[in-house]
């Protein structure tokens, strides 16, 4: 890791960290608010000895990625909104074959074209998606440019460790903001490091047949392999940050851009005598259930802060708390939440004016 700080956009930090992690194949299609990743790769991938493709669409880009990863390269693609929809097919194929890849979903707000600005309403798609079939992806939710770099770097190692897709889930704000960032050290990846790759082996040598893994090891073993892998990822990869949980009356739960505002709300609230705490999931799959194991008696409820129409994060909080505390969701839709808004909402909860939120 370089000691010195550099000033980068979130998208640039992701792209540079990927190159430093040994990513040598990128294919993608431009879409706001993640296009700087593609542009950065167009300027720097070949200098690093890699391959950059502006694809004809996200499906084709992901298919190139599928081939490149199968051939052994560290690969990345990135998208947002409707573009991320189109990537689902190949996420399923990558999962079906146990091929590692790192993807970025920089969330923009809304259904359809929506807006090109920040949103957090593709949470379910990203944490529960993955196309057809039953797959799980590790999903990181960085809340700063520095974290964009560190988590992207880590993502490549975890993708290979589990032979799984890892997704960096940002939003239009985290992707576009410029702030200080430390860059990880450079490493090269050997495309012949793993024995599952397509390397063009001689006749008679054991070949790799990358097809549905079920065809290779049978449905029963495949089901067992996947279940155990997902359980292991769930157990080992939960990451989160806690703030002021010990004596909190209300515990905010937020990730990405909303979690930054929540930190301010916690500080400001405590100045005013409102005891707020924060649990910030750094992985949103696996959702950090361990962070919720020791919730003090002082906590009257959980408050998710999300840029959604109806709560999505709240489902994970409900699954985690199993109804032991009331759930409230502060939903700001297309707008980035403000600390004042969060505080006012929390005050109204504490004065009994808010009904608990229903998840549907």
């Amino acid at each position: 890791m370089d000691d010195k700080y550099v000033l980068l956009k979130g998208n640039e930090a992701i792209a540079e960290a990927a190159l430093r992690a040994g990513c040598r194949f990128y294919a993608g299609y431009p879409i706001t608010p993640q296009s700087e990743i593609l542009e950065y790769m167009s300027a720097n991938m070949e200098k690093n000895g890699g391959v950059f493709y502006q694809a004809e669409n996200e499906i084709a880009g992901m298919s190139m990625l599928f081939g490149a990863a199968a051939a052994g390269a560290r690969v990345m693609s990135s998208s947002s909104g409707p573009g991320f929809d189109l990537m689902q097919e190949e996420i399923s194929y990558l999962s079906s074959n146990g091929i590692p890849a790192v993807l970025v979903n920089a969330m923009r707000y809304g259904t359809g074209d929506g807006e090109i600005t920040a949103g957090q309403d593709s949470y379910w798609l990203t944490t529960r998606g993955g196309g057809h079939g039953d797959s799980r992806q590790i999903v990181f939710a960085p809340a700063s440019v520095d974290e964009c770099a560190q988590l992207t770097y880590l993502a490549f190692d975890l993708a290979e460790k589990y032979r799984n897709v890892v997704i960096i889930l940002t939003d239009g704000a985290v992707s576009q903001m410029i702030e200080k960032c430390r860059l990880p050290g450079r490493k090269e990846h050997d495309i012949d490091q793993f024995d599952w790759t397509l390397s063009g082996k001689p006749l008679g040598a054991k070949k790799n047949k990358l097809n549905n893994m079920t065809n290779i090891i049978g449905h029963s073993d495949y089901q067992k392999y996947l279940f155990e892998k997902y359980a292991e990822m769930f157990e080992n990869e939960q990451r989160w940050e806690s703030l002021g949980v010990e004596d909190a009356e209300l515990l905010l739960v937020a990730y990405g851009i909303s979690s930054r505002v929540c930190k301010t709300a916690v500080m400001e609230g405590r100045k005013k005598g409102i005891k707020l705490g924060l649990i910030r999931p750094i992985t949103v799959w696996p959702f950090p259930r361990k962070a919720f194991e020791k919730i003090p008696d002082s906590v009257k409820g959980f408050v998710t802060v999300e840029m959604c129409v109806a709560t999505q994060l709240g489902l994970d909080v409900e699954l985690t708390s199993k109804g032991r505390r009331a759930l409230y969701s502060y939903l700001t839709g297309v707008n980035i939440p403000t600390a004042e808004g969060i505080l006012a909402f929390c005050e109204s909860i504490l004065s009994g004016k808010q009904k608990p939120t229903e998840v549907f």
């Binding site: 194949f25 190139m64 599928f66 052994g72 190949e90 390397s199 063009g200 790799n208 990358l210 549905n212």
Partner: protein, 250 residues
């Protein structure tokens, strides 16, 4: 007279239907690879659907891509391992219909891969439904039970004429209805591999191939239909050979 030998690359029988052209094409691919001495450096790509039967039959590293995306998958592989020989064996539904974009852009990028497209005038694996690009007008299929009508479904398209405009290395169409044409098809496929060995660009070889099961014809009658009907819409020959700067029947 030399004895006819099975290519060493073919290591197990496959489940193609009786009279299916895919098996002949699979054998031609293996023969070309071995005659050029490339058998120890192959990465093969197939589509889901009928070409996937080759995956276990051939002793190569193999990948089955998402339906229609095979040219893009092969592109990714070739760019990561440029010294290996990468070929794609896919159907006409994959290459010309659902994956036409991927095929065209692999051609436009002039990716040095060898693509073999099996034109069997239907969507074989799913039960012989109409293929928008290759089913002849009037032909009955399970999704055009009254015969394909231009009014509602458009017309079959000679995609090599489209690809001809994309500045590729080599584009040709062969057929399998008699030994002479099988030999000619083999020459085209071999040319496609030779181009890759000499680091030239994108080569595509389309093969008019019978699907007796879905055409409801005997294998012999299916070959006869190709010779008498399909070749009229899909003329045989070399469309592009950048080396020769010549064009054939296109």
């Amino acid at each position: 007279m030399t004895a006819l030998k099975k290519p060493r690359s073919i290591i197990q029988p496959v489940s193609f239907c009786a009279g299916c052209g895919h098996a002949i094409i699979q054998r031609l691919i293996a023969e070309c690879i071995e005659e050029l001495g490339l058998q120890d450096q192959i990465i093969a790509c197939c589509d889901i659907a009928c070409s996937e039967w080759s995956l276990d039959a051939l002793d190569y590293d193999f990948i089955a891509g998402p339906h229609g995306r095979i040219a893009a998958v092969a592109t990714g592989i070739k760019k990561v391992r440029p010294d290996k020989i990468v070929y794609a064996h896919a159907g006409d539904g994959s290459s010309y219909v659902i994956g036409l974009t991927e095929t065209c852009y692999a051609a436009i990028r002039d990716v040095p891969i060898t693509m073999i497209v099996v034109n069997n005038a239907c969507l074989g694996m799913t039960g012989g439904q109409m293929n928008l690009a290759t089913t002849l007008l009037g032909d009955k299929t399970s999704s055009s039970p009254y015969g394909r009508s231009k009014d509602s479904t458009g017309h079959p398209v000679d995609m090599l004429k489209l690809i001809q405009n994309l500045d590729v290395q080599f584009a040709a169409r062969g057929a399998l209805f008699d030994p002479r044409h099988i030999e000619e098809t083999k020459r085209y496929i071999k040319k496609g591999f030779e181009n890759q060995v000499s680091k030239k660009g994108f080569s595509v070889i389309e093969v008019l191939s019978p699907c007796p099961t879905n055409w409801n014809l005997s294998p012999v009658d299916a070959m006869k239909k190709i010779r008498e009907e399909n070749t009229k819409v899909f003329p045989l020959g070399i469309y592009v050979d950048r080396e020769e700067r010549g064009t054939g029947c296109g």
